[in-house]
Amino acid sequence: MRFERRDHPSTGLVLLAPVGAVLAALVVAGLLIAIAGANAFEAYGLILKGAFGSRLGFSETLTRATPLILTGLAAAVAFRAKLWNIGGEGQFYIGALAVAAFGMIPAVAGLPPVLAVALCLLAGAVAGMLMLLGPLALRLKFGVDEVVTSLLLNFVAVLFVSMMIEGAMKDPLAFGWPSSVPVPGNAELPKLMERTRLHAGLLIAVGAAVAVWLVQARTVFGMRSRAAGLNPRAASFAGVPLGRTLVSVACLSGGLAGLAGAIEVLGVKGYVTTDLSPGYGYSGIIIAMLANLNPLGVIAAALFSAVMFVGADSMSRALSIPSYIADVTVALSLLTMLVALFLTQYRIRR
């Protein structure tokens, strides 16, 4: 058996890859559910019902998809340029913390809401950017692989958040768990649906996906970042400034992850805790791959993950299947997607 490269992977196959990958992941996860003694079809039915079956469930799914779209975009733009930003989780937290810190400035509470929200979002994005520029600088200056440095910084970031919310930014009015001082009311994102948690952050996230798609498809920067990822040497000979392109990519990627944290604070929580993210940064990597790094595909992939996470929560209350099955399925879909993509590029010959 050997593999033969296809000259031109057909568009149909490429579009089919994520569908096949998700189905394969669902089959394997279904086996795990069956081994645990439950009916997999019933479990998946309950997951869909939990995610779409009620107004509340539906709003929760979209609320959950919001940060996932942004962290997915963050990973997608970086991976396209072969900048391995695995630090989305840390950038998310630092973005959230920056918003909370910015909200503590007394003058912010007096700003008109539009301006207050805009400045807060900017603060979060800039903080996320700075967080990724560190590992990039180490790569460009010292040749240090940014995978490990950005990963290690995730732990540093959460510890830093913990230090700040137990110290300088501690909310004196909060009892029990440490949390930051809440952001002022005028900086909160407006709700999209009455009596739910769904907020305008969803529109920002979808808008960001469309904007990133336009930038990648229609601008010189988009072309350069793709070239830098495909073949850095060739790109460099063709006159692409590699260093500068990577810095711009890092700003975009870190900024998007920071924005995700900022929006989660302004839209959902209002303050920062060390459990603000159930691994949004890491899920973003899966979502980016499942979308084949396509910014518009990220929206669909984020929705799939959100459905799994929200649906599994309600499913696990009905059946005695741990809600971790959602994490298992989503992680599996990354591996099956890699295989599916391989099959779009190669055909198997005997």
């Binding site: 290690l152 732990f155 899966i286 971790y324 994490d327």
Partner: protein
């Protein structure tokens, strides 16, 4: 100043260095093996988590401690096989596959853990490995008390360093392994199949990672809880660069690292007015520093992250 001297002169501190170093030694050797044949294995964090869970589960459901360690190794090797199949014959991105393995293995570990223990507020414990005093030697003041009063897996880890160094530099197998990481075409020309060599070595390395994880639940602590690996796997990946892909230096790196970790733990309790989180950041910051210092100097295996296909260059 006196406080620091007190810490440095205590037997407990140096005993802890070896204890903290043990999972890192297992993990670092595991990463080293994989990278020596040219494959990055970022699955380590998840494989350690899975090993920690499986080791604990084996003992919790009645197996003995060694059985737990072995099962963790077998579980690790299975994830290693998955990583190997995806990255070696298929030649998929080693970065992304490894991260996928980590995310899959850790969520799978949590899933199985929750199935085994559906509703416990505090994680159930097992009876862990006890320190095994070597008769005679453990009575040598200080040095003996530190070196020869450890748990059995710690001795095993130290023995593995020597065994691996011997295997890599003194046996034909070791030569073939090292050559696979430098030039798989040359290995193939010698009539050795680099693909199967890579797959086997990744499985062996991943088994070590799983055992490193099991040390956490079966010796360092006595129960499993999610997120307990706390980035140790990533630290091992950094340590391998620091060690320049040599087993002896990997041991040195793990010990150095464990020294700082044990030191900051003790310093936390005596230094006042400094947030404890700053101390906890130290291990991660040190790993980054180690990478910066060594990145340009280290001799990277030439075929690292280069998929091998016969007849393709």
């Amino acid at each position: 100043m006196n406080v620091i001297l007190d810490i440095l002169s205590s037997v407990g501190m140096w005993e802890a260095v070896l204890r903290i170093a043990t999972p890192l030694i297992f993990g670092t050797l595991g990463v080293l093996l994989c990278e020596r044949v040219g494959v990055l294995n970022l699955g380590i964090e998840g494989i350690m988590t899975f090993g920690a869970m499986l080791g604990w589960l084996t003992v919790y459901s009645g197996g003995d401690l060694w059985m737990g360690l072995v099962m963790a190794g077998v579980g690790g090797a299975m994830f290693g096989l998955l990583h190997a199949v995806l990255t070696v014959p298929l030649g998929l991105s080693q970065h992304v596959t490894g991260l996928g393995i980590t995310l899959f293995a850790s969520s799978f570990a949590y899933y199985v853990f929750r199935l085994a223990v559906p509703t416990a507020t505090s994680p159930p414990t097992v009876e862990p490995f006890r320190p095994l005093a070597v008769p005679g030697l453990s009575e040598i003041p200080f040095v003996g008390q530190v070196l020869f009063n450890q748990t059995a897996p710690t001795y095993l880890a130290l023995a593995l360093v020597a065994a691996l160094a011997w295997c890599l530099y003194r046996t034909p197998l070791g030569l073939a392994l090292r050559m696979t990481g430098e030039n798989p075409h040359a290995v193939d020309a010698q009539g050795i199949n680099p693909v199967s060599l890579r797959i086997g070595t990744i499985m062996a390395g991943s088994a070590l990672m799983g055992m490193g994880g099991a040390f956490l639940t079966l010796a360092a602590f006595n129960s499993f809880f999610p997120t307990m690996v706390q980035g140790r796997g990533w630290i091992c990946v950094a340590l391998v660069v620091f060690a320049s892909w040599r087993p002896g230096r990997a041991l040195l790196g793990a010990l150095l690292f464990a020294f700082f970790d044990a030191f900051q733990l003790r310093l936390q309790t005596v230094v006042e007015g400094v947030p404890y989180q700053l101390f906890l950041m130290l291990p991660y910051a040190l790993s980054i520093l180690a990478l910066v210092l060594m990145a340009r100097r280290a001799r990277v295996p030439q075929a690292l992250m280069q998929p091998y296909r016969r007849g393709e260059r």
